[in-house]
């Protein structure tokens, strides 16, 4: 089985501080990490490798420093790492990004492409599904579980929905997007870390992916950002120690106060 996992380097927004003067994210000194949903996807890939035997490739598009998450992926147990980096790819929105990655994937063999559901820096959840559309392969998003049937050569996908789970079977080649909450990613192993820097990170430029220049980078990005703003923090909730009868009255009054009822 051949698996390609798409990963992204993102600022660790859990440690982010909002600049009170500008109201924007202060990125200075913010550590970069592997996007959590992508790490979940990588864990699924490594579990399939352990269970059925597989060759796992990771690919990322980004600045040269994104090599760090590819080394981390090597230390977790992947077999091959590709860094897609080129000035021509800069300024890409989700469409241009998915065009570029789909272009790279067209040059590779795979049974399944695994991406994270969404990246914590953009929260769009668009790139994975767009890649599947570009490649014209089936997809299941919001994956909470993944297994493989050796006999029927299909992937068994547990998709999380608002109401529960859907169990779907998908023929290879296909794509899934994974939720970080679905799985606990493994730690890098000590020997994996020691040897991670001896392995090759393949650096691919835009010329390698055979995608028209008007479809990648800024030129291929129809999105224009109107305004960026920090998510408003919700105030802390209130706690009331009351009897059930009092609670009913209290809730009704609160709903009336807010003109909900």
């Amino acid at each position: 089985m051949k698996i390609v996992v798409c990963i992204k380097q993102v600022p660790n927004s859990s440690e982010a501080k909002i600049d009170p003067a500008t109201g924007t994210l202060n990125r200075a000194g913010l550590p970069s990490i592997m996007n959590p949903d992508d790490k979940g996807g990588l864990e699924f890939a490594l579990q399939l490798k352990e269970k059925y035997g597989a060759h796992v490739t990771v690919i990322t598009m980004g600045l040269p420093q994104a090599e760090a998450i590819l080394r981390e992926a090597y230390a977790m147990g992947v077999d091959r790492a590709i860094l897609l980096t080129d000035r021509k790819l800069g300024g890409a929105d989700t469409l241009a990004t998915s065009n570029a990655i789909a272009g790279a994937l067209r040059t590779m063999e795979y049974d399944i492409v695994i991406t994270g559901r969404q990246a914590i820096d953009g929260d769009t959840a668009q790139v994975g599904p767009q890649i599947a559309e570009h490649l014209d392969i089936p997809q299941v998003s919001y994956l909470a579980g993944l297994d493989y049937c050796e006999e029927c050569k299909t992937f068994k996908c547990t998709k999380e929905t608002e109401d529960g789970y859907e169990i779907l079977e998908m023929q290879a080649p296909c794509l899934v997007t994974v939720l970080a909450s679905a799985v606990q990613p493994r730690y890098m192993s000590v020997n994996g870390i020691v040897t991670a820097f001896e392995k090759e990170v393949e650096v691919w430029g835009a010329d390698r992916i055979n995608v028209p220049e008007e479809c990648i980078g800024k030129a291929g990005s129809p999105t224009s950002v109107f305004k960026a703003f920090p998510k408003q923090l919700k105030p802390a909730g209130e706690t009331f120690e009351v009897t059930p009868e009092e609670a009913v009255e209290l809730i009704i009054n609160k709903l009336k106060e807010k003109h909900i009822i």
């Binding site: 080394r71 890098m188 000590v190 020997n191 994996g192 020691v194």
Partner: protein, 379 residues
Amino acid sequence: MDFSFTKQEELFLQMIREFAEKEVKPLAAEVDEEERFPIETVQKMAKIGLMGIPIPTQYGGAGGTNIMYGMAVEELSRVCATTGVILSAHTSLCCAPILEAGTEEQKMKYLPKLASGEWIGAFGLTEPNAGTDAAGQQTTAVLDGDQWVLNGSKIFITNGSYANVFIIIAMTDKSLGTKGISAFIVEKDTPGFSIGKKEKKMGIRGSATTELIFEDCRIPKENLLGQIGKGFGLAMKTLDGGRIGIASQALGIAQGAMDETIKYTKERKQFGRSISQFQNTQFQMADLETKVQAARLLVRSAHYKKDHGMPYSADAAMAKLFCAETAMEVTTKAVQFHGGYGYTREYPVERMMRDAKITEIYEGTSEVQRMVIAGKLFK
């Protein structure tokens, strides 16, 4: 000497910090309170190769550096000193002497199981009457045919009741003094070998510190580790390495107490402001931070020399002495900064202060470290 981390070390630090924070810290108070050996943590450590960090890959280890091993002990001890010492005793006191003095057969037999964490290691030198005066060994080993027969007892043995392999120091010829002392490898289930009482300790309460008893314990002749009569030298060399491990442990405890105190003094308000805003707090914390950084550089320097095959005995002694005394000072002041809360088990600094004390005692007291350092000065 280059003080910057290599890329591997940076990645290792990222991993071990996450591991310590998620897997070790949540258990620290419970392990202390219940005096419970955290076997589940050891199994998790084994899974990712932490039980064999500096062991070469041909013996099943991770092939890492001593600096990485020191970072692991430091980061684990930062949140749980018990977990730190389990790793330190296993690696420095059991794996290291086998790697140093073992035959190829011994290395192939023991190191892969130790490095994978399938087996845990321990080291027996201290006896009721041979503490700092380690040459006064009363445990004896007598060759009888193709077996060594061991008699005697060891005390205060870290990992005692959980270890599978023990490096045991014993007297093979009393008339030769320290040159009549030899080292042996003893496996857990050997007839005549038993685990005695478990100590009830002030700190590092989760580590299994026990007595070892040898009553006509027969081990194969080939379990002699190193040459006959060279056991004392091997033990001293082992302790040189072990001291950097304990220095790392003490450093981790000190850093953990700093972390907790910075957090607490920023949150705690008295007289209308955070106590971190008082100059008394700031000046004392600045002094402590300076000592912690100096301690860290001494540890790095000792590890660096060991990794590069340079003499490091006095460096290890200086690192352990300074780190242990720094840990004691930082944790004591951390409790003081926490006031009444610091004296309760609601906050981890109380545990850290109890844990810190042992670092001034085991693997050579602070007085022994001063003897080693002075010995180099006045030789």
